[in-house]
């Protein structure tokens, strides 16, 4: 009788320890995810993208959106990106406008991902390298390998803020997304004004939803 009780206790302890360990591991794993590993951030993003593609047929646009949103919010520094895209014009906007812009931009960014990554054909991401680049940034290079062997280069630039690494720029085949957006958005802002810019963003979001 006593032995059974002891075994139970030991099992209990073992289970507790294991659970604790798991929790600890997963906790530390998620900690390290957000602190010092640009590569992991990118890979986590890419895993989620693949997932979105794989479940694309089952999920609708909104489903994919909800799947990707938390990952993108965490891995991308949308505030910084918005600031860089508008450049000197950012300060000229009042807080409310800035807020509205970031919201719209966020919706568009996540929506764009949701719109692209919706069907799966045995693609996979392959990590190439990580290296330091000027201005305390980190470059993570990878490529998307398609079924037929064609590759698309995906490079990410990450920046550290308050200890957390986040993506500020994505380059597809070397073309800087930030550059494209800056050219386009600033030109509209300067020629037609802020309301037109917002309008353009909403239009684009709507277009993606329709597809």
């Amino acid at each position: 009788m006593r032995i059974a009780f002891q075994i139970k206790a030991v099992m209990h302890v073992l289970i507790m320890t294991t659970v604790l360990m798991f929790t600890a591991v997963s906790y530390s794993w998620s900690q390290s995810l957000s602190i010092n590993n640009p590569r992991q951030i990118v890979e986590h993003l890419q895993d989620t993208l693949l997932k979105s593609m794989q479940e694309g047929s089952q999920l609708d646009y909104q489903g994919r959106f909800d799947l990707l949103a938390p990952v993108i919010d965490r891995s991308h520094d949308l505030n910084y990106i918005a600031h860089v895209i508008l450049g000197g014009h950012w300060i000229k906007l009042d807080t409310q406008q800035q807020h509205v812009f970031i919201e719209a931009f966020r919706k568009l960014s996540i929506g764009t991902y949701a719109g692209w990554f919706k069907s799966y054909n045995n693609e996979r991401f392959e990590f190439l390298e990580q290296r330091d680049i000027p201005r305390d940034q980190v470059l993570v290079r990878s490529q998307l390998i398609q079924e037929n062997g064609d590759t698309i280069g995906f490079d990410y630039i990450l920046r550290q803020e308050k200890g957390a690494w986040r993506i500020t720029n994505t380059l597809a085949n070397g073309v800087s997304d930030l550059a494209l957006k800056r050219s386009e958005y600033r030109s509209i802002l300067e020629k037609k004004g802020f309301p037109s810019l917002l309008e353009m963003l909403f239009e684009k979001i709507a277009l993606i939803k329709k597809k």
């Binding site: 201005r135 470059l139 490079d155 500020t168 070397g174 800087s176 550059a179 800056r182």
Partner: protein
């Protein structure tokens, strides 16, 4: 009459006779002396080419520049290397290469400072731009990034053309891209390729979105080791620079050009041009002088006599110069010119007098005696007056002129002695017949005499001229600009003028030394407030403001452009056949056509059309040449379009690494030039206008001196030196005139005659001054030396005239027909051709001296031979009075 001859007369007369009698000994002795002196001179006479040294050290501006050069020695005697290239990348790389080569050469150079080329500026250069400019650059880069990312992966013509085709397609579909700079860049490069002046495309400029200028400049400031034992102190250094330039890739047919200027180069060039001028002028002068002398004497032997007297006199005077001073400077070297002008005068007077007396058929010894006595006393008066005139220059601040005064004054005495010693000796060996061709004599005398008849006309013309002169005299001016004196076609001077006219960063700026930072800041503020000042620079300005904001912008830029240089590095250029290249270009052409069709009024349409035209020209050329030539053409075009891309990208990458810095972080080579070890600060003050113009120079300098009297720098020195020189000359001339007046009074013992001698001199001076206004030939550092010479000849001529007419010892009836008149005429003519040849010198200073002397001498002639006799009321041949004996 005989009894009243003075002691002087007798002394000279005896001396001359003695020389005549002992001619062979005299000549032999003189030959020995001449030889000995020549040897002595060649061993001991030096040349001081330092022009600033010639003004007194007590002058305040000299103290200021001395102080400055001690603390900041970088500006003194430097060479400015100006490199120009069609693209900024080439200018930068070449300047860097050249500077590195020169730095290794410690034998020829103390210091090599490439102003903008330093890894520090490569890295932090963006911080010097203002914020709007940084934003603009970021925008440009954002637009260019997609294009460049793809071109940079494979910098081949084929890829470039196909990327561009795609981009144009996107543009046509309505995508917002700014392709204008790239399209224009390509057109220009293609078109340039088809002419003989190919032009490499500057990607750095494309990145910044500016239109590509014709040329980009880099400056290297070099401090050479000057070799003062050579005539051209900077020659060796300049040769070393050219050799290094070749090593750095600056061949003759390279599109990159190097020009050398700066203080040391300008000085060398000036010396070169003035010597060039002299050589040519020297030969011409000699010929002309011989011709004139022959006209005067009509006997080769006499001409030879004059020349021998001159030569000996020159040698002896040079010997005196060596003994008394030891060296010549650029001013006192003019003594040779002065000596020839005045020395010839002496010899001509004596010889012509001799022959005049010879015609009276007296025995030879008596002729010699008489000629010696008369010429001697006349010439003595001239000698004394001239000598006093020259010695009066000694007490001035302008040591260049003071030395000239000593040498020339003594030269006069030497000339007198030589003429009256050698002259008679030589005469012994010359044919004794009198000058034939009385017709010549008569004609000159006749002309002069006939002019005398129009007394009233002469008076009225003179008064008229005098009146207009008085009106013009206030306009006489002095040109302080040393550059105007140089040969304007010289490379150093042209380059320098170009650098000055680009008002930003002109090398001709004022400088002030502040004892500490506070004073530097205070003075900077005061200078900035002046309307004539464009900008003021101190070391403080090398640390840009708003660095934190700018760093953020640079971070943005780095994020936006991404790692363009790193996607694949080094880029692998794919090989293509010409057919493939041609295909790609055809596609591009088609894309352009489509664009023009669909979007005729787009903002980029003009660039598209221009590129289309250039491509058509290219295709035409490709169709007309052989296929081999076509290949070469396309490969060469590829190189023109794409060679600079890697460098521009590299530079972009480096400049994205900028960090915030302050004064202590500046490179040492820079900070030492602005902040001395002793803690003093250098302030550079740049003018707003082109201070090549004298009035603007004066305004600039004076307003700066109001704020800081100890300011220095080339413009200030130029003005102050000029004023010191003018002051010195005014002092010297005043002293001279007073001295001459006193001497004349003592010699002539009559106020009336003194005045008579002075009047033509004053008149001709006034007329000459007025003429400089008419001809717009201002006085300058060079031609102001002409004035003592004009003084000398002027005095000589009128003194001879007055002396002769007073003594009334007329042999041929009238003064105008006398040997004196002829002597005056020919001696002035000799001097005239002597100096007229200077007018053709390429050295503007020498040329203006020639003009001034020619004009001055002409007026002297007119005043002495026309106006003076009119005033003297000399009886003409037609109105012979009883006074004729």
């Amino acid at each position: 009459m005989e009894a009243s001859k003075s002691h002087l007369y007798k002394a000279f007369a005896r001396w001359t006779s003695a020389s005549y009698r002992h001619a062979p000994w005299v000549l032999f002795l003189m030959l020995l002396i001449a030889a000995a002196c020549t040897v002595y001179i060649s061993r001991n006479l030096g040349m001081n080419t330092d022009t600033t040294d010639m003004l007194s050290e007590d002058l305040p501006f000299r103290a200021h520049i001395k102080h400055y050069n001690k603390i900041f020695p970088q500006d003194m005697n430097n060479l400015l290397l100006v490199l120009e290239a069609p693209t900024p990348e080439q200018a930068y790389v070449t300047a860097d290469r050249l500077a590195t080569l020169l730095k290794k050469d410690a034998i020829n150079f103390y210091d090599v400072y490439p102003a903008n080329i330093d890894p520090f500026f490569e890295k932090n250069g963006l911080l010097y731009k203002d914020i709007p400019e940084l934003e603009r650059i970021t925008d440009r880069l954002a637009t260019a990034q997609p294009l460049i990312a793809r071109i940079a992966k494979d910098p081949s013509l084929q890829n470039f053309a196909s990327v561009l085709s795609e981009a144009i397609g996107e543009l046509r579909k309505g995508r917002n891209l700014d392709l204008t700079p790239v399209l224009n860049g390509m057109s220009t490069t293609v078109e340039a390729k088809l002419t003989d002046i190919p032009r490499v495309l500057s990607w750095e400029i494309l990145f910044h979105g500016d239109p590509q200028k014709k040329k980009y400049r880099e400056l290297i400031i070099v401090k050479p080791r000057l070799n003062y034992t050579q005539i051209f102190p900077a020659e060796q250094s300049i040769l070393a620079i050219h050799a290094a330039a070749k090593d750095a890739g600056l061949m003759d047919n390279s599109p990159i050009r190097i020009r050398i200027t700066g203080e040391a180069a300008l000085a060398d060039e000036e010396l070169r041009s003035s010597i060039n001028g002299m050589e040519y002028a020297g030969i011409l002068t000699f010929l002309m002088v011989v011709i004139v002398l022959y006209c005067a004497m009509r006997a080769a032997g006499m001409v030879l006599a004059v020349l021998l007297c001159l030569t000996l006199g020159l040698i002896l005077t040079a010997t005196f110069a060596t003994v008394a001073i030891g060296h010549l400077n650029v001013i006192s070297i003019a003594f040779a010119v002065l000596y020839i002008g005045l020395g010839a005068d002496f010899a001509i007077h004596f010889l012509l007098r001799y022959h005049e007396i010879l015609e009276t058929n007296l025995p030879v010894e008596k002729v010699t005696y008489k000629a010696g006595g008369e010429a001697g006393s006349a010439l003595t008066a001239c000698t004394i007056v001239n000598a006093i005139g020259f010695y009066a220059f000694i007490p001035t601040h302008y040591s260049g002129v003071a030395e000239l005064g000593i040498i020339s004054g003594t030269g006069m005495l030497i000339s007198l002695l030589v003429t009256l010693t050698i002259g008679p000796a030589l005469l012994r060996y010359l044919p004794k017949k009198s000058i034939k061709e009385l017709t010549v004599k008569k004609s000159l005398g006749g002309v002069l005499e006939s002019l005398l008849r129009w007394r009233k006309l002469t008076y009225s013309l003179t008064l008229l001229a005098l009146f207009s002169t008085v009106v013009m005299l206030p306009k006489v001016r002095f040109d302080y600009n040393l550059f105007n004196m140089q040969d304007p076609t010289g490379q150093a001077i042209q380059t320098f003028r170009e650098l000055i006219s680009v008002v930003d960063n002109s090398p001709w700026h004022a400088i002030m030394v502040a004892k500490n930072r506070k004073e530097a800041e205070r003075l900077t503020q005061q200078f900035r407030a002046l309307p004539e000042v464009n900008k003021v620079v101190t070391i403080i300005d090398f640390v840009p403001t708003q660095q934190e904001e700018k760093i953020f912008l640079i971070e943005e830029m780095a994020a936006i452009t991404g790692p363009i240089t790193l996607s694949i590095w080094p880029p692998i250029k794919s090989k293509h056949t010409s057919a493939q290249q041609r295909n790609a270009l055809n596609e591009l052409s088609a894309a352009l056509d489509q664009f023009i069709e669909k979007q005729p009024d787009h903002s980029a349409s003009e660039s598209v059309r221009t590129l289309k035209k250039s491509l058509i020209q290219l295709f035409t050329r490709l169709d007309t040449v052989s296929s081999n030539d076509g290949n070469i053409l396309l490969d060469s075009l590829e190189s023109d379009l794409l060679t600079m891309l890697p460098i521009a990208l590299q530079h972009l990458r480096t400049s994205s690494e900028a960090v915030i810095f302050n004064e202590q972080d500046l490179p040492v080579s820079l900070s030492n030039r602005w902040h001395s070890q002793t803690g003093e600060y250098r302030i550079a003050i740049y003018p707003k206008e082109d201070i090549n113009d004298n009035e603007k120079l004066r305004k600039f300098v004076r307003s700066i001196q109001q704020v800081a009297p100890q300011a220095t720098g080339a413009p200030i020195i130029s003005l102050e030196a000029g004023e010191a020189v003018v002051q010195a000359f005014i002092e010297a001339f005043s002293l001279s005139l007073v001295g001459i007046l006193i001497a004349l009074l003592l010699i002539l013992r009559s106020v009336k005659y003194t005045l008579l001698v002075m009047i033509p001199l004053l008149l001709s001076s006034a007329f000459t001054g007025a003429f400089t206004v008419l001809l717009d030939v201002p006085f300058n550092f060079a031609n102001i030396i002409a004035l003592p010479l004009l003084l000398g000849i002027g005095i000589d001529s009128s003194l001879h005239m007055v002396h002769r007419s007073r003594n009334n010892d007329l042999i041929s009836g009238t003064l105008m027909h006398s040997s004196t008149a002829r002597a005056i005429f020919y001696s002035a003519l000799t001097a005239l051709v002597d100096f007229a040849s200077l007018m053709f010198s390429s050295h503007q200073g020498t040329a203006s001296m020639g003009i001034l002397l020619t004009v001055g001498l002409t007026f002297t002639l007119i005043c002495t031979l026309l106006i003076l006799p009119t005033i003297l009321k000399i009886p003409t041949q037609n109105n012979k009075t009883i006074s004729h004996l």
